[in-house]
Structure formats: C-alpha cells, structure tokens
C-alpha cells in the first residue's frame, strides 16, 4: 500500500528529453494506467518509479519519503515485465521464490553447498515454500511449480511473473505492458484477471500500456502521456468524454475521433465546412478543430454534411461507415448500431451531429470551452439534422 507522488520529473537520455516534467499523484490502492503511443515516455516513467533508471531532475516520493537513491528492491515495488523476464534456468517454484530468498536469506545462506549448512536456512526455506505454494494456489499454477519457464505457454508465464510479483507483498505493483505478448483472446481474459487481482489485493497498481482499450477497461484512472508530457489524468469516462487536448481526444477511443476543420467567428459562433453550428465560445476569433466521436455521428438522408461511403467495417454487433467528404483530410467515421442498416460502398450519404457531441480545440490543440445558446432565442438555427 503506497501513495506515490511524482513531482516535476524530467529524464533525458544523451540530451534527448524523454520525460518533460511530469507531475502525478498516485493514490494509495489505486489502479492507474499510464497510457500513450509508443515512445511517449510511459515505460521510462515506470522505470524511474521502480528505480531502474535515475531521473535527471524532479522527485519520486513513496509514502511521503523521497525515493532518490533508494535501490529498486528497497523501494519494495514489484514489477511485471512485458517479456515476463522469468529466469529460464529456474523452475517456476524457484522463480517465484527468488525475491523471498533474496530478502530473507543472507548471502551466505544463499551460497551453494555452504548455504545448506547454515542453521537458519531450513526454517526460512520452509516458510518460503509455504508462501510460494499459497501464491501458486491463488494463481492456479500449482501443477506447474516444477516446470521450467520454457515449458510454459505465454499465459502461464504471465501468471508466474505475476506470482513472483505478489509473493513478496510489495507496496505497489508496476506493470510494463504485461499483456502485449499474448494473443488477443487471452489478453482480454487476463485483463479481467488483473482487474480482479487488484480488487483482491487492494494495493496500488501502476499499469503501463499503449493499448487505450486495456487502460479504459481495467483502471480506475488513466493518465494519458504524449511526447514525454502527461497531458491528462482522470477517470476513463471523463477522459473520453472531456479530453483537454486534441491529442488525447485522438488517442483515446477507437476508431479515432473525427476532426473537422473549423473556425471561430468574430461573434463567437463556431462554423465548419461552411455551416454555422449552434454553439458559442468565448475564445478569440481564429482557426479551430471541431471533433466528434464516431458514435455521435448520425447518418441521415438529409444531413448537414454529405459524402460518399468509401469503406465499411462490419463487426457483427456494430458497423463503422467511413465517409469520404470534401474538406476533411481523413474519411469521417460513423458508428451504426444496426449493421443491417449500413449504406453500400459508393453511396452518397448525409450525416450530422448534435452540438452537445462537439469537442472543439484551438490551433495549439487545447480544448475550447463551448456553450449551447438557449434554443428558445434562436429556434431556427439548428446545426443538426
């Protein structure tokens, strides 16, 4: 159990700045995901928290105490690696027992041959065996204890790696993309298991992933990192609904949010593709981006905008219609909840969206506050179909 505070953390490798001043407080017992595209510095941040990498400046505090100069094992954080990092020459039992042996046995007791003769060793080994077997039972890997990692499947190795992490009862768990080496089906299954594990252990979980779906489904809070900066942290739904930056809006959610070129008029109204939206903003006049999630795009024969269907993705339970239209760089994606109702490729369709669905961003990508003027005043100016 630990509260971890990260303050103004910077990290540079050979002059290249990977972390550009990250501030984050991770609460005790929280499941937080650090999510972002590859190369955004999320793994580096995790390694700095673990103590595997020293920071260039800034501070990591664990339970109020500065962790600077504290060795990784002394921080008492457990880490699960993407590649599992199991010791291939040790059996599953010994793999899980490593952290306990390192902690509880002296160097002399661990030594080969001589160690057996040390008086306290046998008793310590018995306790270690009980602990390992308890964890193995919890993770349902008891029948595998005698095997070597090479004889295990990806999912089993994953469990062993988790076992090695939980056996020492650390203050917090650090996961570095632990599911990316698993196949899609197992990944979804392990998501649920890790979330369940968190409910059981009630310990702080810090989970790094590039897969926003993983982050959204498992964690209580997600922290979106882009280009070495932490852009936004919050509950998954809040980040999804209320992104503070266009990069966050584009990263979170699949398919990607639709972005239309827009303009803020001098009277504070927003317009896109020649249509004035029923929205107002206090932001100054200029260019902007009008973003709408695919599920908020509504297809209609007489829409505000129109385009040609260029591609269809039918997922069975839902379908995505890609509409190529003049004025947008990428096709506009719309979700259709009933796949039997999708238009044919090549068909011309109209589409629109409600003003509530719009998230507007300025040229720097920052979110613009918008409001919807009361419809009573201007009943005829509907932006929507």
């Amino acid at each position: 159990m630990a509260e971890i505070e990260i303050r103004a953390l910077r990290k540079a490798f050979d002059g290249a700045e990977v972390l550009k001043g990250v501030d984050l407080t991770i609460h005790d017992g929280e499941f937080i995901s650090l999510v972002g595209p590859s190369g955004c510095g999320k793994s580096t941040l995790l390694r700095v928290i673990a103590g595997l990498e020293p920071q260039s400046s800034g501070e990591v505090r664990i339970d109020g105490a500065s962790a600077d100069g504290v060795r990784p094992s002394a921080r008492n954080l457990a880490m699960v690696f993407q590649s599992y990092a199991l010791y291939p020459h040790l059996s599953v039992f010994d793999n899980i027992a490593v952290p306990l042996r390192m902690k509880r046995l002296s160097a002399l007791e661990r030594a080969p041959f001589v160690g057996r003769l040390m008086p306290g060793r046998r008793r310590a080994e018995r306790v270690i065996r009980d602990d390992v077997e308890r964890v193995a039972a919890q993770l349902e890997i008891s029948p595998l204890l005698k095997r070597k990692p090479g004889q295990l499947s990806g999912g089993q190795r994953q469990r062993v790696a988790v076992g090695r992490a939980i056996v020492r009862q650390p203050r917090a768990f650090l996961f570095d993309e632990p599911l990316s080496n698993l196949d899609a089906k197992l990944r979804v299954h392990m998501r649920a298991e890790i979330a369940q594990l968190h409910r059981q252990l009630k310990t702080t979980f810090i989970y790094v992933t590039h897969d926003q779906a993983e982050a959204m489904t498992m964690s209580g809070r997600i922290a979106v990192m882009i280009g070495g900066e932490l852009i936004q942290a919050g509950a998954p739904a809040a980040v999804y609904e209320d992104p503070c930056d266009i990069r966050v809006a584009e990263f979170v959610g699949t398919p990607k949010i639709n972005a239309f070129p827009g303009r803020i008029r001098s009277d504070g109204r927003l317009e896109t593709l020649g249509h004035v939206l029923h929205m107002a903003t206090p932001a100054p006049e200029g260019e902007c981006r009008i973003c709408v999630r695919p599920e908020r795009i509504e297809l209609a024969s007489q829409g505000l905008l129109s385009g040609t269907v260029v591609h269809l993705e039918n997922l069975g339970s839902e379908a995505f219609v890609h509409i190529g239209s003049a004025g947008t760089d990428a096709p506009v994606v719309a979700r259709v909840n009933d796949p039997s109702q999708v238009p044919a490729i090549g068909a011309t369709v109209g589409y629109g969206f409600a003003p509530e669905a719009v998230r507007a961003f300025d040229v720097d990508g920052k979110r613009i506050a918008t409001s919807i003027p009361s419809r009573v005043e201007r009943p005829r100016e509907m932006a929507v179909v």
Binding site: L52, R71, P72, S73, S83, P88, V98, P99
Partner: protein, 304 residues
C-alpha cells in the same frame, strides 16, 4: 505419368524412387566425410597396427605391438601426464580469465573495442612467431620477465631450462593465447543475455554484482561456458607449437606432450606406425571430450 497405372505399382515405384533420391542427395556429403574424415581416421587406426616407417617400401601387420610398446614406454606416460597437467591448468585458467576479461570489458564504459582488440591479438598472431617473442621474454639473462623480477628485487629464473618450471611456463603462454579467444566467445554470450533479466534481478533484490552474476549471468552463460571449456580442452590437448619452438619437450622430457611425442616418433624417427598409435590415444581423449560436451549440452542449455 500414366493415370491408368494401378495405385499399388505406382506406390512401390514411388517408394524405391524416394530412397534412391535420398541416397543420391546424401551422397556428396557422405563422400566428402569419407574422404576427409572417416577415411584418414580409419587409415591412422590401421597404420597403428603396422610397423610402417615413413618412406619405407613395405610394411607388415604387427597387431597390438605398437600399443604394447607404447604402454610400456616411460616417455609415453610422462607425455600423457604432462598433457593432462597442461590441460588441467590451461583450461580453468583460460576460461576464468576469458570470462573475467569479458565481464570487465562488458561493464566498462569506454574503450571497449580497444580492449577487445588487445586481448584478441594473441589469437590472431601466429603462435610460432609469438613463441619466439616469449623465448626472448623468458630468457634467463636479458629477458623481460627476469629483468622485471630483478628490478623488483627478486631473483630471476631459467624458466624454460628448468625441469620444474618448463611445463608451467608453457601453461602460462597457453593461457595467454587462449584467453582472448574465450573472451570473444564470452562477450558474445554476455551480449545475448536479455537486459530485462537484470532489471528483474534488480527488482527482486539481487543488488550486488555477485548476486546478479549468480542469479543471471552465470546460468545464462551456461551453454557458452560449456562450449568454451570443450574448445579450450581440445585446443590444449593439441599443444605443440610452443613446445616445438621453446623446449623441444625438454629439459629431460619435463615438457613432453602427446602431439610432440607423436611428431618426434613419426617425423624424426620415421616410426609412422608407432606415431599413429599415439595419435589414436590422442583421438580417444578428444572423442571423450566431445561426447562429454554433447551429453552435458543437452542437459544444461536453457532457452528463454
């Protein structure tokens, strides 16, 4: 192929056809092995049962006489004992030093390639030429080694001329020569150890260099170590150049080794048959080492 041929005939045709093709495809490799490996080996073994002398027009089969003579010969036993002593000193020395140097180079920050080159030089240099350099270095009067000893206030020694030190001096040269080669193999092995295992070890509490070595480096180097030990052992069994150049097996047979015995018997006394018998003993040891390596290799190799 005619479609009306009964299936049975067709199948049998295919079967014989396949085995003929298999033999034909295996033939080049088999012929090469026969010519270059099995043939000469059989020749040497056959030769060891004859009294053939190099250049002689005729020879006769004398059965096990060569072996009887050899096992009764004091020089052969001295030679065998010296060879085993040499192997027993050079193998651990060269393996440990090679590993140590590799670990130091790997953990060092700069000048890696410079150190690699320096330690690899003895491997690339011709040992005969290097042996002459060593001869000068070990010279009792004006050699560098004795010079250094004298400068340190110690007494010099006739390293290669003393029965007590000749073989051990050769061992030192052997270690010097083999270390670089072993170092390169160990370096390759060290590079291939996944970095995340060290991270895991660090997280798990293996903080000192020694515990990391015990937990990760040494086990992960298992296959390389086995290979290095086997190669070093086989190469030290073959020690000849330094003996030939520096001591000629002397003084009074104190540095006589198997291959040198074989050489003198076969090419100085022209007793090819007897030389072949010595060679067979040598081959038996090499075969034993190879078998040992493959037996251990199957057990000790770990794959992630």
């Amino acid at each position: 192929m005619a479609p009306r041929v009964p299936a049975r005939v067709f199948a049998s045709f295919r079967r014989t056809g396949r085995s003929q093709a298999a033999y034909a495809l295996a033939a080049p490799a088999f012929v090469l092995m026969l010519l270059m490996l099995i043939g000469p080996l059989a020749g040497v073994i056959a030769l060891s049962f004859t009294d053939y002398q190099l250049g002689a027009p005729a020879f006769s089969w004398i059965g096990l006489s060569n072996y009887r003579e050899m096992f009764a010969d004091r020089v052969f036993w001295i030679s065998l004992k010296n060879t085993l002593t040499y192997v027993a000193i050079v193998v651990p020395g060269a393996v440990a030093l090679g590993l140590g140097v590799a670990l130091l180079i790997q953990s060092g920050a700069g000048l890696k390639s410079w150190y690699r080159t320096v330690y690899f030089l003895p491997v690339m240099a011709t040992l005969i030429a290097m042996a002459i350099v060593w001869e000068f270095m070990l010279h009792p009067q004006f050699g560098l080694v004795n010079g250094l000893l004298r400068a340190a206030g110690l007494q010099g020694h006739s390293w290669l001329q003393d029965r007590g030190t000749a073989l051990y001096s050769l061992c030192v040269i052997g270690i010097w020569q083999a270390t670089g080669f072993n170092m390169v193999l160990f370096l390759a092995g060290l590079v291939s150890i996944p970095k995340h295992l060290y991270d895991a070890a660090e997280i798990d509490g293996a903080e000192g260099a020694w515990s990391r070595f015990r937990l990760v480096t040494w086990p992960m180097l298992g296959p390389v170590t086995l290979f290095v030990v086997a190669i070093s052992a086989i190469r030290s069994f073959q020690v000849f150049d330094t003996v030939q150049v520096l001591t000629k097996g002397g003084p009074s047979k104190s540095s006589e080794v198997l291959i040198y015995t074989m050489y003198t018997e076969g090419f100085e006394f022209f007793r090819s048959g007897y030389g072949a018998a010595v060679t067979v003993v040598f081959l038996a040891f090499v075969l034993l080492l190879t078998l040992l390596k493959s037996a251990l290799g199957n057990r000790e190799v770990h794959y992630a």
